[in-house]
């Protein structure tokens, strides 16, 4: 994997990754910043995400009304997202648009405008985004469960932010945050596609080389204290359907336990792979997985999912189930925890291990099917972990033993370290 990948660092600290892929006349550019919602302080939750929105609204050399059209001229798509550890921006377009894509990212790093009127208008757009997601009871429950699972670590607050902070944050809060974090020494530029590496490196030097580095950034050092017993949260609202969530503290991506835990997740709920978007694109193969059998095949839940995502600090192994109408949440919860206890008590089988590894091997192939997805993975791992975790992933998965999986099951799936969430629908929906 990545035999033709080149990695370098500019004098201003900007990390650069270039990979040539000559299957289609396309190039994908990703610009990553090591800043996400975990870097936010009380009163400013949601600032990383809001800053991301503002960074699409014109720069010194790209007037507001000319933002639209630059990438479209090359048939391209563009986007950005913010999560707990990172903020990223991307363009994928025909290769002849490469210089424009790099220009946009250099402008975004150094010259965004933060017009006060634009900041105000975006406030309501973001509040609308928050309210749209709260229309979904499952999302609402997830937010409550995560907040309950952490006492001190900033993973506890949602990336979109708390509503009151979205009401009170000012243009200067946004701009200062932008200036502090959007510096070359906090960023990685990734280019993947039908390009020549030397040419790309020259263009990157030209576009980004003159941007001055910023002061070293303060990193989150807080460690979540060990949980001392089960925590429970209940959300009760009008609705039609009951939802269950179980959250267990999980290893960070750099922890040696991460890959055994990834194999365990495949056994419990089907393999997802290593791209946090991949289960949205293709659901995991899970019909013979333990939780599917315990909940869906026993007609307790209409669906079950679980996720272990690669994160910089220890995040959560989150299991979600949708109760079948007429089945109580207690019954769903008991069936799920019994299935987990069974793994802890009796371990996994050799056959389950082999199947999980096959699944992960296939998913790693499937998830790298486009220059866009390849670019995402390189930048993601460079930003939240190290590149070698990603490059070496197939070997690390292959090396996982039955004993490793049994050990992480016992270590992480502990009832006294979990947070249980119930969404209990009340009558009156739609009235």
């Amino acid at each position: 994997m990545d035999s033709n990948m080149t990695s370098t660092v500019l004098d201003n600290g900007l990390k650069v990754l270039v990979q040539e892929v000559h299957t289609a006349p396309l190039a994908s550019v990703w610009c990553w910043y090591k800043v996400g919602s975990k870097d936010e302080v009380t009163g400013l939750t949601g600032v990383s995400h809001w800053v991301e929105h503002m960074n699409f609204k014109g720069t010194k050399n790209i007037p507001r009304d000319q933002v639209k059209g630059i990438i479209e001229k090359f048939g391209g798509s563009w986007n950005g997202y913010t999560w707990i550890d990172q903020t990223t921006y991307m363009e994928t377009a025909s290769t002849d648009g490469l210089d424009r894509m790099l220009f946009i990212e250099a402008e975004r790093m150094a010259n965004c405008l933060y017009d006060p009127d634009d900041c105000e208008s975006e406030r309501t757009v973001i509040i609308s985004e928050l309210q749209g997601s709260e229309n979904d009871p499952d999302t609402l429950l997830e937010q409550e469960v995560i907040a309950a699972a952490y006492k001190v670590h900033p993973y506890r607050h949602p990336t979109i932010g708390w509503l009151s902070d979205l009401h009170t944050m000012t243009r200067d809060d946004l701009y200062q945050y932008y200036r502090r974090n959007y510096v070359p020494n906090n960023a990685t530029v990734v280019v993947v596609g039908d390009v020549e590496t030397d040419d790309v490196l020259r263009r990157i030097e030209r576009q980004f080389g003159g941007i001055s580095p910023g002061p070293a950034l303060r990193r989150v050092t807080v460690v979540e204290p060990e949980q001392l017993g089960e925590r429970r949260v209940e959300v009760s609202r009008e609705g039609t359907t009951a939802y269950l969530k179980l959250a267990y503290h999980a290893p960070a991506v750099g922890d040696p336990d991460f890959f055994p835990m990834l194999v365990l997740d495949a056994i419990l709920a089907g393999a997802k792979g290593l791209n946090l978007w991949s289960s949205f694109r293709t659901p995991p193969p899970q019909r013979s997985a333990r939780l599917y059998r315990a909940l869906v095949e026993r007609r307790l839940a209409s669906g079950v999912g679980a996720g272990l995502l690669p994160t910089e600090h220890p995040f959560l192994y989150l299991i979600s189930a949708t109760a079948i109408e007429g089945v109580g949440l207690q019954e769903v919860e008991s069936a799920a925890t019994e299935a987990l206890d069974d793994v802890v008590r009796n371990g996994i089988t050799e056959r389950e291990l082999a199947k999980a590894k096959n699944q992960l091997r296939a998913r790693l192939v499937f998830e790298n099917d486009s220059v866009t997805n390849l670019g995402h993975q390189l930048g993601y791992f460079q930003t939240v972990a190290t590149l070698d975790v990603y490059q070496d992933a197939p070997n690390r998965i292959a090396a996982v033993t039955q004993a490793d999986v049994n050990r992480v099951a016992a270590r992480y799936l502990r009832s006294d370290r979990r947070t249980v969430g119930w969404f209990r629908p009340t009558d009156g929906a739609g009235r």
Partner: protein
């Protein structure tokens, strides 16, 4: 333009003796193959008494065959890391998956077995029925789903099959029995109604040989086609409010019926829709409602021509206090497009974007397979990807403006609002 683009996808079409169509395309980007087997068994074939039958069939089809139990089928996919998906739209049910190249033959064989010899075990039907009923109830609690279902019912009034909920209703699904699934399969699954698309890291000869082995012996007559009535646009403006006071945001669905896919104006509509609600972040609608007024996180339009006149739909999610203003803004953009039309610059930009996107949209095996399936279903030709740039390129300003005038009439729009909203403030609209 590169060589690969000049040659195009160069997919090959092969028809077996029994009528099964095989379309294949070699692509060696990753050692994987995408299989899509499509059968003309979509929701339009549901009878009025069994709305949701096609959808429920799609949920049970892969839960056991005459030769393998549901558990064995699950194991066979899971041990290779393959997620099978069975989905039904209005016309077609598609069984699809992506596997490693080394597993291609085994997976095609299993997919064939699922398509030709499903067992529909009673126990599986009961389980999947429970899941479908749950999904229907989840939709009932979703403003977005409620708004879209209501809009389709308005655009395609009863008994038009496009206006019915594909999942069915709690009542209709509860009534469906095993024999209905068996009969539906007997009527709708036949070689002459089946197309297999295979894209990826597997040589053409290997594809044809495997497909011949799997589907070649299938002998079965097809049932007759269902006649569909036209769906003219509404003569008047229709508005419907679905109050869901437990929600925080309101969803707006606003639309018209348009043209059929075979209409030569298809490409003009595609360009016009791009300008109205797609280009950049949501086209003109996005500029007004999201960018200038900051009212919504999302607003866009979509255009979906079909066998029958398909819809052009505007969607937005807004704070309940902004519903009236948002609908006025949608009306304004729709009216402006119809009366003033597009500018020459806008036309050039949209065309350049749509043509330039083609290589990006045809990058992955899955995307190519879906493109080839659509081209085959609508009879667009194997070289459709090569002709697409000139079809879009030849659209004129007169063409797009005529399309806008023909469809975008605010006095004939169908409008639904679902969410914490009870109706317009007096005298506002």
């Amino acid at each position: 333009m590169t060589i690969s683009l000049q040659k195009g996808l160069a997919a090959a079409r092969h028809v077996l003796d029994n009528g099964v169509v095989i379309v294949s395309k070699e692509a060696h980007t990753v050692p994987a193959v995408t299989i899509q087997v499509a059968v003309r068994a979509g929701s339009i074939y549901d009878s009025n008494a069994q709305v949701g039958l096609s959808h429920l069939t799609s949920r049970v089809l892969d839960r056991g065959t005459r030769r393998r139990s549901s558990q064995d089928v699950a194991e066979a996919f899971d041990e290779r890391g393959v997620s099978l998906s069975v989905g039904a739209n209005r016309h077609v049910m598609t069984v699809s998956c992506t596997c490693l190249s080394e597993d291609f033959e085994a997976m095609l064989e299993l997919v064939g077995e699922i398509v030709m010899e499903p067992a529909f075990p009673e126990q599986e039907i009961e389980k999947r029925k429970g899941e479908v009923l749950n999904a229907i109830r989840q939709d009932e609690d979703s403003p977005a789903a409620r708004a879209m279902l209501a809009l389709f019912a308005m655009l395609y009034p009863d008994p038009h099959p496009y206006g019915r909920p594909a999942k069915g209703t709690v009542e209709s699904v509860s009534r469906i029995e095993r024999q209905h699934l068996v009969d539906f399969h007997a009527a709708r699954f036949a070689p002459s109604l089946t197309t297999a698309i295979i894209v990826g890291d597997v040589e053409r000869q290997r594809v044809v040989a495997a497909a011949g082995r799997v589907f070649g012996g299938w002998r079965k007559a097809a049932a007759g086609e269902t006649a569909l009535t036209h769906a003219p646009s509404s003569r008047t403006r229709q508005e419907r409010v679905i109050p869901m006071m437990n929600k925080v945001q309101a969803d707006i669905a606003y639309g018209f019926t348009t043209i059929v896919r075979s209409d030569p104006r298809y490409y003009a509509y595609t360009v016009m829709n791009n300008a109205l609600g797609q280009y950049g972040i949501g086209g003109r609608l996005g500029d007004s409602i999201r960018e200038r007024q900051g009212m919504a996180y999302y607003v866009f339009s979509s255009f979906d021509a079909n066998v029958v006149e398909g819809p052009l739909i505007v969607r937005a999610g807004v704070n309940p206090a902004n519903v009236d203003r948002a609908i006025r803004s949608i009306d304004e953009e729709v009216r402006r497009m119809a009366t003033e039309g597009m500018t020459p610059e806008e036309l050039a930009d949209c065309k350049q974007y749509l043509i330039g996107s083609i290589p990006r949209l045809l990058e992955t095996n899955g995307a190519i397979a879906t493109f080839l399936l659509t081209a085959d279903f609508f009879g667009l030709g194997l070289d459709h990807d090569l002709r697409l740039p000139s079809l879009l390129g030849s659209v004129t300003l007169d063409d797009v403006n005529a399309a806008a005038r023909a469809t975008l009439d605010v006095d004939r729009a169908s409008v639904v609002v679902a969410g914490p909203y009870r109706g317009p403030a007096t005298g506002q609209r």
